[in-house]
Symmetry: C2
Subunit: 213 residues, 2 copies
Amino acid sequence: MKGPKRSLDVSKIVNAVMELLDEEPAAAPTLRGVAARLGVRPNTLYTYVPDRVALEGVVVEHLLELAGPAALAGGTPWRERITGYALRLRAELLSRPGVVPFFFSGPMNGPNAVMVGEGLLAAFTEGGLRPDDAARAAYAVIVHVLGSAALAAADLPGPGTSEAETLEARRTALAAGPPLTAATAATAAAWNSPEQAEWGINRLIDGCVRSLR
Amino acid sequence: MKGPKRSLDVSKIVNAVMELLDEEPAAAPTLRGVAARLGVRPNTLYTYVPDRVALEGVVVEHLLELAGPAALAGGTPWRERITGYALRLRAELLSRPGVVPFFFSGPMNGPNAVMVGEGLLAAFTEGGLRPDDAARAAYAVIVHVLGSAALAAADLPGPGTSEAETLEARRTALAAGPPLTAATAATAAAWNSPEQAEWGINRLIDGCVRSLR
DNA sequence: ACCTGAACACCGTTCAAGT
DNA sequence: ACCTGAACACCGTTCAAGT
């Protein structure tokens, strides 16, 4: 048995990124950090990946997969498939906030992105939308879930602070704001909660279904 | 007339950021770049701003203002006020893609953010929503417009490529994809267009209004 | 073909020092 | 109070060189 010609491949690099995120979920992985974890020099990674954006794209593909796009294909009612995937993806991202910027650093056109798109299209079609509306609806859902995840990640408390006290501080601040804001401070303070993300996605789907006529 | 005690203030710093964005809209402004443009050492900025995230927060506030939040308060039908502000904000961001990440680097709780929230609340209330639903709807709109802007910015072609050929390349790629994707390739390829952003926001508002009952 | 050594041109941030 | 000099600990990326 002769030794391996190469010690690395792209999937090992992605694994290293995921391990870094496991250890420090809020820290954005860097090429140098990934290389160090693999016991290799930073420039070695350029043998496998053209640049940082490309590596981030591969990680994005991995996360789209992690959220279980296969479940989009069928089995449960169409609407649950959509909200299910959307909320699973959001949860995966928010359990690793450091990865969120990766979704906004380049076009999202890998095979898993296409598969997710196809699954959402199928679900919306099953929901009664015409093809073009289904396409618009599918991408609107992606926009919403990624926007929600990104804003929630930006709002995460630093290591010193608990989520509850951040929430309470915000509620108090909003209660001192203009009238309508003050009157809804408790709701508004939790605007980055999973519950409100679910509410938003459901309203979006409601609106899409309504455009059936 | 004695010389000024300080040569700088926060608004001059924000101006410098905006000038950098005017010159190179896709480049993310840096503290060092801003300092250089002001003819000052990088660490000088720490007299005016505690760190990079805080500076970005001030720039975010400036952009929320640029999109004209005052027009949210009244004058036109409630629904146009919402879509108008949302699409103006999106356009401001996409004419300066380098600033987009600033919206995701920290909590968005400045006075203009509160004012925008209040304006959206007023509009949705006028549209017939109960206060808590209006609050959820207001923030869902923000989520959607910022998500849309961020994904569109990530999809922008590099300096070498035109928008039209990027679109055409994507359409061709999607046409070779799975069946539903292929059937809607023309629509799907333009998923980051302003038209589809407007479609998405309108569907979201539709869905919110429907939750009146 | 794969990996390294060394360098380049950057970052944000700190701290003691000058005025 | 404001700004600087100098340094620290980082980045992504390149290129020639070694195996």
